[in-house]
Amino acid sequence: QSLEPLPMGGPDFGALGEEAELVEVEPEAKQEILENKDVVVQHVHFDGLGRTKDDIIMYEIADVFKAKNLIDVMRKSHEAREKLLRLGIFRQVEVLIDTCQGDDALPNGLDVTFEVMELRRLTGSYNTMVGNNEGSMVLGLKFPNLFGRAEKVTFQFSYGTKETSYGLSFFKPQPGNFERNFSVNLYKVTGQFPWSSLRETDRGISTELNFPMWKTNHTLKWEGVWRELGCLARTASFSVREESGHSLKSSLSHAMVIDSRNSSILPRRGALLKINQELAGYTGGDVSFLKEDFEFQLNKQLLWDSVFSASVWGGMLVPIGDKPSSIADRQVFKRFYLGGPTSVRGFSMYSIGPQSEGDYLGGEAYWAGGLHLYTPLPFRPGRGGFGDLFRTHFFLNAGNLCNLNYGDGPRAHLQKLAEYIRWSYGAGIVLRLGNIARLELNYCFPMGVQSGDRICDGVQFGAGIRFL
């Protein structure tokens, strides 16, 4: 999971989420008059356009012309401003609304002027990123708005605690429909996984198409990856040693996301459903499988500023066919791992399930679930300010991971996943870092521990963006 290439495409303007607020007009004595007054937007001016092409601007501001009264004009202008910023090509956008001057001015005519400042042709960035239980320094070089229609070429180099990567990506949105976009990425990622004594280097190329459909967001992707596995230490188990070597994966995948939460880090309400499938092997390569996984989360606000949250994860990996090649006895798949401060708490990182001599091999099927109750800190210190970033939470996590024997039927598989369930409960403190990441410090009681699992009972710390 941690070797997904760093997100390169897509708008990098921060999520509008909670921060953006609609500009509300102060109620004034004259509000009634203003609201009733019909206006016509006669001209929309743009100051500061350089290399940006006109047609993409037209799409974003088309609605402004349709405004009928002053409040509407202000609202639609604000929305247009948000849309322009979302394109990621302007450093700032300011809106001026004025009455129309000039010969053809109507008595109720308005002029709307957008004063924009385009981003430079080449921008550099340095930031630190938080992934799941890892941190990294990221250096980036970006060419925004390359050909004038919000295309973007990004080169990124990331050096982190678990992996080092670099990549080049080209992103192009559809003019007028920013959510529909496609990107092409080239990347190389090197990662180390001490829980499996495995070292992995992936070199890949992928093309991805994103598009919204009704309330859902879909992603279609083709990916070709040259994966090289090696042992991290001489003491790696033989099962891991057997997996060393090279393989080529060519896969098509589809993901669907419906997200109605108000925030992705500590949501108060809303639900998330993510379904992902990947089919490898029919477009080349020597790795063949079908992989399905899903993530579901539901949040509900209760009395006294507390939030109840339930989440379920699950997935299955099915190798396909008997490829008539001499390496059919190798299985170099991307398996599922379970356990850790961002997964089933109370267990060590990815340390549940099949293992060999202390190296965890992951599994072909898994499920995990969590129930949480988030409440404000007791006695509410620092209320209204710093204290609001912290929450206490009580949790109950459970999950199971296993390999499947494809000779048996589905009932046997379900049975296998239902026996020897690992679970844990506990409480702790959660700190929200902006809209980016979340830190947790928990006291855990792991239960249902099977021989071979590594536990972390007592205090456990976790940092990341995706928690069970």
Binding site: G230, C231, F238, R241, S244, G245, H246, S326, D329
Partner: protein
């Protein structure tokens, strides 16, 4: 781990016999197999396409004994010695030094010549090495891995000064090496008279493979055939340690299959 006796399920890993393994790796693998047979230790040969990457040193063959993994003849000889089996115990210090010297000669001359032929002779590279080396992998991975390996070997050749040599010079070196070995062997059955040592295993591995592998031309095997006592030596060891058992483990079977698939 040293105290444990040699198990029944010890395994030796190498690349795939029919389609993939190259001359130099086949020679090294055969040398280790011969050595273990001389020590009377059972070993089962397992073929894996990724044997080279599984090996802790990146070289084949390697053995998996109990939960230990040891690669290459030198370390394997040491490992086996720690378990109480040795072929060179009967030698005195002078002979041991001599044995080491001849083993160095084989490694520096014969093995390097094999690598040169496989990776630096353009015709051989194109016709035999690239297709074989990348055969278990799909396109374009087969090409990438072959070129990567070739670049690596050529860099090593440059470092030891062999890059400038021509094929004729390399064959001359092989001839000189064979001459030295032939003189040392003389009319004895083994290099150190009555009992075989690891040197015999190493020489057998390389010479037998050279004699029985078909390449673009027969020049390499002709150099060895010039010395009749060396060919007799190979035949003798094959009959004594590899003949009469099931075809799969016989050295000739191993080399023959390599030869079969090289026919163009």
């Amino acid at each position: 781990a040293a105290a444990e006796p040699w198990p029944e399920n010890a395994e030796l890993y190498q690349q795939l016999k029919e389609e993939q393994i190259l001359l130099s790796d086949n020679a090294s693998s055969l040398a280790v197999q011969a050595f273990l047979k001389m020590c009377n230790l059972p070993i089962r040969v397992v073929c894996r396409a990724n044997a080279e990457y599984m090996s802790p040193s990146g070289k084949v063959p390697f053995i998996h004994v109990g939960n230990q993994v040891v690669s290459e003849l030198g370390p394997i000889v040491q490992f086996v010695k720690a378990k109480g089996h040795s072929l060179s115990d009967g030698l005195d210090e002078v002979q041991k030094a001599e044995m080491k010297a001849y083993m160095e000669l084989v490694n520096n001359m014969l093995l390097t010549a094999e690598l040169y032929l496989q990776w630096c002779d353009d015709v051989t590279v194109e016709e035999i090495t690239h297709p074989r080396y990348g055969s278990p992998y799909p396109w374009p991975l087969n090409r990438i891995l072959s070129y990567q390996k070739q670049w690596e070997v050529r860099r090593k050749m440059k470092a030891i000064g062999w890059a400038g040599k021509t094929l004729e010079q390399v064959l001359e070196d092989v001839d000189q090496c064979c001459q030295a070995l032939s003189q040392r062997l003389g009319t004895q059955p083994y290099f150190f008279n009555k009992q075989p040592t690891e040197l015999d295993a190493l020489v057998f591995g390389h010479l037998f493979t050279i004699l029985t592998t078909q390449l673009i031309t027969d020049e390499l095997s002709e150099k060895v055939k010039n010395y009749s006592n060396l060919t007799a030596f190979c035949r003798r060891i094959e009959q004594q340690y590899f003949g009469g058992h099931d075809k799969d483990s016989s050295a000739a079977g191993a080399a023959r299959s390599a030869k079969r698939s090289l026919l163009r």
